[in-house]
Amino acid sequence: MSSETVFQTRAEDSIGGDFYAQHFQEGCEENTLVLNMGPQHPSTHGVLRVILEVDGEYILRAEPVLGYLHRMHEKMGEVKSWYQFIPNMGRVDYGHPLAWNWAYVGAVEKLAGIEVPERAEFIRVITCELNRLASHLLWWGAYLLDLGAFTPILYAFDDREAILDILQRPTGSRLTYSSFRIGGVQTDLDEKTVQMIRDFIPIFRERLPMYKALVTDNIILRKRVEGIGEMSPDVIDRYGCSGPVARGSGIEYDVRRNEPYSIYDRFDFEVPTEDTCCAAGRYLVRMEEMAQTLRILEQAVDGLDKAEGGCIMEKAPKPNWKAPAGEAWFAVESGRGKVGVHVVSDGSKTPYRIKLRSPSYSNLSSFAEVAEGVLIADAVSILGSLDLIIPEVDR
């Protein structure tokens, strides 16, 4: 549609809004209200925009409009060298950046057939799982904020702060980590850090019952999540949802379990699932996952001392390293689901093509179908239960 025709429709039918709003309104029924939720709406977590067609407070149709935070990471990947692309991976998902770090370096290692030292694998597991805790805590607080409770996010951040303090030691930063390297990790874990983790685990374990008492058991919260946003396993299949969203619909699928990468096959942990298929299922799965993550952490910290090798392989790839030609697909489990990176190399210094498969993207794509016929307040609840990180959706 050229800009002229856009203008004409506006003049004739007096339909306001930009291209997407008009495009959406073409399919509207009579006597309905078109609402722009976002890009500056408190519960769209940043700059997601959802156009809603509502009848009263019931949503008839929804269409997410993306791209307000699009940075074209895939193009940047084709310009930078293999090594230089790593910092980008810290910026895709601010909630769980280490999973993206891992997906990328894992894909490159697979491509080049690089073996990572055992100790580095342990460090990766420990930092990544800590980061998963931080990610779930962030989701928990923000979700409760969406549902109108202000206090939980501050309790969550109290704990999250302790995790960030720990993660700051090996990574140097507190939010956008880029500490994984092709062939290992940037910095080793020192004694103090390991001790901090050991101290943290029991403290956090004691906090979980408080979370349950304050929020999970609360009748108002339960009424807000139970039966909201039904996603049958068929919906999960058709939209390719993954992570807690899939597990909340009773699909026992966790990349760490079903397609074990690194050393995850050595740990004893459960993959929590809920059969309720609703926001409550996704909520409970994440809460239980925090407890399971603590279990993995305990085992990993114990295994760290016995692990062989350093934190990075000898003769690790340098910034001017050339990857062999070929392609590799590598998937890891992030806090939101399956993070996939497809790298294609023509044997030169820079990647030929990098495809980033983000879980939030697939999870959000189901929103339009799931939100049909629900109340606006429920739409907020569904959006929150999908645990969206907008930079990851837009990449």
């Binding site: 090594y83 910092p87 810290g90 956008t176 008492a213 609360n218 340098k318």
Partner: protein, 195 residues
Amino acid sequence: METIRRNILQPIKDLWSLFVGLKVTGKFFAMKQVTVHYPRQVIEDENLKSYAGHIELVGKPKSPSIPKCISCQMCATSCPSGCIKVTRQKAPKPTPEQQKAMDEAKAKGEKVKKPTAPKNPAGFMLDYSLCSLCGTCVEVCPVKSLRFSNDIYLVGRSRDDFKFDLLERLRSQAEPGCPVSEKKQQARMTDGNHG
């Protein structure tokens, strides 16, 4: 029985959950606060040192105001964001005696011995506003002349405040009362005030 459970016992249980919530927040209300009043109180924690801020140069052990850097440009070329600029020193102009010796050597057809440039850089500029703190430069440095600083209170009033002359920074670190840097800093402060 089921109807009684659903219509009477369950609502009572549900109501009780509300009281439990009040109890939790009430308990935290009585507990000590966990935040600090920043300007009056600061956290004195060893952990703050683990924060990796912008990079800085490491001086030679014997003369701390001269960096170990050998101007090899590894950091500048491997930086993903291109925020480092290292300029090599130019070879000094030969002194009259050296010039004479060079001319003689040239006349004899021998190998000319030009005075070599010192290895340490003439300028080392960092544009911190572009930096993504990935640490690549620190890792690739062959002589370990770069490290992370750990000033968590770094602030600036304009983009230009984050363009650092790392050589000057090293000098002022080596000699705390270095007049040049102080003057420049003062100029910066007044600039900020005017702007």
